[in-house]
């Protein structure tokens, strides 16, 4: 008899054809940008960085079903951590990235422990306050952050004599890191832990009744999201070479939420699809001149109306419906 492998550690979920198609289209776009180069290289680099950020955000908001408007705080820790360690203390960029992730993880643990006792709107407001406080610190604590001046001359990603300075190589490197982030996200989502998170998203009481420790799971998801955000913040610093408080301000929350909802919150590939689409859309409308923002907003609205679960969930329209049984 074929085993149903109910306890198998292998991933239970597989990407359907539509999702694979979307990822294939994304890969083609990535290759085209890599070949033609120019300004779009920078746009695609930022899309990769935001994709990493959104993969983490999806853990907390998508899989666990919790609201966080403050993940920019951890991107800020990552960005400034990398900038300060590399510019002032001459650390290796890769080590600075890892150290900043460690600090962000500890910060998420310390902040999340009391904050995650809140639910719904209260949690959303508390996390939003966290983002605002971090933004304010990055403006006010000038001896550490240099205030609005920010940090310039942040070295590109690399370790030892290996540095990623070529723009195409940077994009390849970021694309590779996004794939690593995606792979980790998929493995975690389909693990026992990931199923626990998704159960919490479905019903906290239902999950608790099955023995899932809600508070611990939420905290771990929050920390994971913080680690992804920190990595994204560091990568931004090493890719662009300059950071200032505005980079990690409330605008970042709006941008990443847009990406997540366009791609599909709670879906596997949604964060990546959303990051690429939302990064490239404004460039497509650039030729419309002063109507660029209006055109972008209109397309976003249409997407949210006709694909409320995100682009990656559109595959459900092409799947054959299974009839319900008679019982």
């Amino acid at each position: 008899m074929t085993s149903l492998a109910i306890t198998s550690p292998k991933p239970a979920a597989r990407l359907d054809r539509f999702s694979l198609g979307l990822l294939g289209a994304g890969a083609l776009l990535f290759a085209a940008v890599l070949v033609y180069g120019g300004y779009l290289l920078t746009v695609m680099q930022l899309a990769m960085i935001y994709g990493i950020f959104c993969l983490g955000l999806n853990f907390f908001m998508g899989y666990t079903g919790q609201a966080s408007f403050g993940q920019n705080a951890f991107a800020c820790i990552g960005g400034y951590g990398s900038a300060i360690l590399c510019v002032q203390y001459n650390w290796e960029p890769a080590l600075a990235l890892i150290a900043s992730m460690g600090v962000a993880g500890i910060a998420a643990l310390v902040i999340g422990y009391p904050t995650l006792r809140l639910r719904g709107h209260y949690l959303a407001m508390a996390t939003f306050a966290l983002g605002l406080i971090t933004y304010d610190i990055s403006v006010q604590w000038t001896s550490l952050t240099q205030g609005y001046m920010g940090y310039a001359g942040i070295p590109p990603l690399g370790i030892g004599s290996l540095t990623v300075e070529d723009e195409r190589l940077k994009l390849l490197c970021l694309g590779g890191l996004l794939l690593v982030g995606f792979w980790i996200s998929q493995r975690l989502r389909d693990s026992r832990f990931g199923r626990g998170l998704r159960a919490i998203s479905g019903s906290e009481n239902g999950a608790a009744a099955l023995g899932i420790r809600i508070s611990r799971f939420k905290l771990i998801a929050f920390v994971i999201a913080g680690l992804y955000a920190s990595a994204a913040g560091s990568l931004f610093a090493h890719t662009v070479g300059f950071i200032s408080p505005e980079v990690f301000g409330p605008q970042m929350v709006i941008v990443t939420f847009t990406m997540l909802y366009i791609g599909g919150v709670g879906t596997l590939i949604g964060p990546v699809v959303g990051a690429i689409v939302a990064s490239l859309l404004p460039e497509i409308f650039r030729s419309t001149g002063r109507f660029q923002d209006i055109a972008y907003a209109l397309v976003l609205l249409l997407m949210l109306i006709y694909a409320p679960k995100g682009l990656s969930a559109l595959g459900a329209l092409f799947r054959p419906r299974k009839d319900k049984g008679e019982a």
């Binding site: 306890t7 239970a12 999950a207 009744a209 049984g325």
Partner: protein, 242 residues
């Protein structure tokens, strides 16, 4: 006095009181279930049946004492009670609709420790009780019929290898044939030694299976009696059997 009174109860609930704001939904309620016993709680709408089950499983705050297998578990939380083997099938099934049957069952086995073979054995047991779940293994829970969903809810609870299975109106919204099938399965599980505490509207069906009945009204236990005695109480028999 029941024959079960001499046996150490599987669960004993004493003086359980629960409130929703200013409303006292449960008043100094006491009950017990002996090992391998099938107990049914009956009562009209608003009697506090669901509140009682939610208070026992700590899904809502309450005062009083709960002893399980001789251990005071009053201050344990829901997930810790599940770890001890108190598993509840909630009203409305509490399934995770976007997840497949496989994933729902995997979540049922969440607290099972030990070798994988243990989980596989539980799974085979669930499939032998509800063969339809095997056919639907990769289908999402929300795409199944009400009866299949209830089978999945019971199956998922069984995956946890419960010592006490608590069910809140499992036949709600189901066709009589399907409800009867599910309740009969519960009867078979009880014969194998599983303790069951059932809240059920379809009293005739539940009373056929139960050994003892509690009648709940206005948040407190009004009567406790062996099932065979309920027919001698003409008013109760008329109310619950007709």
């Amino acid at each position: 006095m029941t024959a079960m009174a001499d046996i150490t109860p599987l669960i004993t609930v004493r003086d359980l009181t629960a409130r929703y704001g200013h409303i006292e939904a449960l008043r100094s309620t006491a009950l017990h279930v002996a090992p391998g016993e099938f107990v049914t709680i009956l009562g009209p709408n608003g009697a506090g049946k669901t509140t009682l089950l939610r208070a026992i499983t700590r899904l809502i705050a309450s005062t009083g004492q709960i002893v399980f297998n001789g251990r005071d578990v009053t201050h344990l939380r829901t997930h810790e009670l599940a770890g001890l083997g108190i598993i509840m099938v909630q009203e409305g099934r509490g399934l995770f609709g976007d997840m497949s049957v496989r994933e729902n069952l995997q979540l049922g086995a969440y607290k099972l420790s030990g070798p994988q073979a243990h989980s596989e054995r539980q799974l085979e047991k669930v499939f032998s009780l509800f063969p339809r779940l095997r056919e639907r293994i990769d289908q999402t829970a929300s795409s199944m019929s009400g009866g299949e969903q209830q089978m999945l809810a019971v199956g998922r609870a069984l995956m946890a290898d419960p010592k006490l299975l608590i069910l809140d109106e499992p036949s709600l919204g189901l066709a009589p044939r399907v409800a009867s099938e599910i309740l009969s399965t519960l009867g078979a599980l009880n014969k194998e030694g599983l303790g069951i505490l059932l809240v059920e509207q379809k009293a005739p069906l539940a009373l056929k299976l139960a050994q003892r009945v509690y009648i709940l009204a206005s948040g407190s236990v009004r009567a406790e009696l062996p099932t065979q005695e309920i027919e001698s109480h003409h008013d109760l028999a008329r109310y619950y059997f007709t």
